[in-house]
Structure formats: structure tokens, C-alpha cells
Amino acid sequence: MARFLFVVPPFTGHVNPTIAVAAELARRGHDVAWTGLPGATEGLLPDGATFVPATSSEVAAYVDELGDRRPDLRGAAAFKFLQEEVLLPLAGAMVAGVDAAVDAFGAHVLVVDQQALAGAVVARKRGLPWATSATTSAELVDPLAGLPLVAEAMHRARVELQLANGVAPEVAEAGDLRVSPHLVVAYTTAELVPDVAVDAPICFVGSSTTGRTEVDDFPWDELEADRPTVLVSLGTLNADAGERFWAAAAEAARDASWQAIFVAPDALVPDPPPNVVVRTRVPQLAVLRRVQAVVTHAGHNTVCESLAAGVPLVVAPIRDDQPVVADQVVRAGAGVRVKFNRIKAADLGAAIDAALTDPGLRAAAERIGASFAAAGGAVAAADALEALVPSA
């Protein structure tokens, strides 16, 4: 039996997909553990999970302060902040701890998130087999294609990170910390991401999160039985960023033929129309079985879970990987894009009407959903990861 160490950043959307994969590996008799920042990361793991801290709690507190990730920034400025102020410092701070965690746990294989580059540095330095855990599809395509100088500067920074941590120069210069040459586990399908730009074996596993157990405390009796229903969610990080968005969504819902579930802070929907249920959390999988359309900021997990359920989308990307994921949805024909910052109630209402009634959008969402059902999820991921275990 082998020991798999998951190296993760302290972000919900990047940890959640690994949980089912680790559970499947454990079911097969392997040992699994996670390493990352103490506190924030541990809180995202299931009870009884083995966690090896990769930094002191002081470093974790510092990163927590960056946790809101400057919600005022957009576009290129947000990209610069994420790369230079969050991901590269996080990687530098985690390398020594991940290295020690490999020894403490006796890891045979590392499973490294694309936003936890320290894992890739350690695996390359030690010559360990490692897999990339692509919990968003934005790094599988080439969003910097038209900006070669920016791409080169990002590559250079990742080479410097390796050189500073003892990776041999010829190893550091070759390849890419975000892409393991051994295996990339991608939590999506080729039907949704047909334009992959990485040169590595990719295992498309679909969604690993659709089998999770949820606490269902949703007030279902507040919904009308036969009325079309729309889920509106901006994910775990962005609910507070959308004052204008929530006002537009409430206005669009007022007097609409549909009813809606808003995943939002009560304060941002002060006077909800009677056909809107506002909750700060929902059992999302159960809700997705009940709704006919989803409005989302195009966070990767919400998009994939919605499409896995065959539900068409309205995507309102805010920043980071979201515009890339939103493009994928639109190009697949499974959703309609609206603006986030300049959203208007009339435009949002029209997009929701299209998602609810356009048979082409519904058919495309169901086609992508079928590709997710066929992809194999956590079982397929575990199969691919087992193949990386060195023979004794």
C-alpha cells in the first residue's frame, strides 16, 4: 500500500475536490494525508483527516490576512496580486514544511494543487512522482497566449522559486511547476475544455464532489412546487463583493415567472421579493436537482456541479480564473454570459429567461452533463494516481 500526500492552498474550491479522491484511495487501503497552512486548511478537511502543517501558525495568520485577496482588484491588477502577493509567497513559505511533511508521513506520491506550487518544488527536488491537481481548468488552457512577455515573467518567477529552494538549474528551467509531466488530474471534461494547451498526460475525471454528503437544512416548503426555479450563487469568496449584483438580481426576480434561491448575506438582499428565498448556505447538490437554471460567478466547482446536473448557466465572472471558465461554458453552448460589475436587472432577467427556456442551452448542458457522468470522478482519479506508485 502507498502513501499519498495532498499539497493544497487554503482555499475551499481547491481542497474540496481532493476529499473524495483521498477517500477513494483510503478505501483501497492506501494512506492519505494533506499538508498546507494550519488552521484555514484543516477547517476544510473531514473529521479524522491526517493533516501535517507546512508552516507555523504565524505564517498561516499572515496568509489569512491576504485571505480576502483584495476584492477591489479586477483584471490584470487582480492577476498580479494573486501571483505576486499570494501564490508565490505562499509557495516560498511552504517549501521547507512540505519537505518535512514528506519525511514525517513517508509520502510515495505527491498530489499538488496548481495553487500550492511548493509541492511541485519539493517533488522535483527529491525526484518523487507527483500529480498535478487541476481544481480549475483555467491553467489547462493558455490565457496568456497573446501576452508572451507576461507569460515569460511568470515562468521566470517560478524558476527563481525553484532555484532558491535547491532545485537543480536544468530541472528548474524545464517544464512548469503547474503541470506535472507524470499526470494531471483535471476535475472537468474534454467536452467542456476542448482547447487544452498543456503537454502532459491528462486524466479528465469530471467532478469528484457530486457524491459528497450534505446537511440538508433547506426550507423546501418555501418554494412553489411547479414553478421554474433558479439558483443564484457567487460562491464562498465573493458573496460580499456583489452589492450591485444582488440588487439587480432582486429586481430581475421581482414579478418574474420564476422563483429563485439566492445564496447571499441577508444584508445584501434587504427586501427580497416573495418569490426569492435568501440563504447564506445551501445544500448545493440537492438544490441543483431542484432548479432549472443557475446564475454563478463562474467558479469552477459550481459550474462543474451545475453542468454535471445538466443545468444551463448564466455566468457573471468577476476575476481570476472565472472569465476563462465562463468562456468555456459559453463556447460549449451551455450558458449565457452577463457582466458582473455593470450588471443590469433587465439583462440578467433576459439571460435567466434564455437559460430557462432555450432548448439549445438545455441540450448542451445535458451533453456536458453526460460527459461528466462518464468521466469516472474520484474512482478514475484514484486509478490514475495508483499508477504513479513506484513498484517496490
Binding site: G75, K80, L147, P323, R342
Partner: protein, 100 residues
């Protein structure tokens, strides 16, 4: 297109029309488009909208104005700091170059 002459004023007006088309009619949330308006901080132009801007510049001014190649020469800080005035100057300079 070889006979096109363009002034900063005419290009700014054209850019106003293009950006209103790309972004929408509430482009001017914080006042009129000016040479100092920033694409990142003020307009919050997304990558998909940069693509649309490039297409419309090509449509309007022809291949002499190669916005895509110009962007490809930029570092990240250049893109963050990019202003309407820089694009206007780029268009005017591109059109002033002799055809060859």
C-alpha cells in the same frame, strides 16, 4: 486606408464609440472617457473585451493598426497602467507611418 489621417480628437471619439459598443452604454459610470481613463482600474476591461476592442480597431482602421501585436509587447505593469490616451496615441502613430 492609406489616405487616412487621424487626429487625437477623432480617434478619441472613435474609441468612445467602440468602447460603448464593447462595454455597454453605462461605460461612463465615472464621468466621460478621457485620455487619462485607465482600462484596468476605471473601465475594468476584461480580456474578452480587449479581444473585441482589437477586432473593432482592425475593422475601423485596417491592418495598419495592429493592436494585438502592440499588446504582445507589454509587461504586466504596462497592461495594468494602460490608458485611453496611450491607445489613442498608438492609433495616431500607426496611421501616420508610411505604408510599405
Amino acid at each position: 486606408m492609406s489616405t487616412t489621417t487621424a487626429t487625437a480628437e477623432s480617434v478619441l471619439a472613435e474609441l468612445d464609440r467602440i468602447l460603448t459598443d464593447v462595454i455597454g452604454d453605462d461605460l461612463l459610470l465615472d464621468g466621460p472617457l478621457s485620455m487619462d481613463t485607465s482600462f484596468d482600474a476605471d473601465l475594468q476591461l476584461e480580456s474578452i473585451e480587449f479581444v473585441a476592442l482589437a477586432e473593432q480597431l482592425l475593422e475601423t482602421y485596417g491592418e495598419q493598426v495592429d493592436f494585438v501585436a502592440w499588446m504582445a509587447g507589454m509587461e504586466l505593469d504596462d497592461i495594468i497602467a494602460l490608458t485611453v490616451g496611450q491607445v489613442v496615441d498608438f492609433v495616431v502613430a500607426s496611421l501616420a507611418e508610411p505604408q510599405g
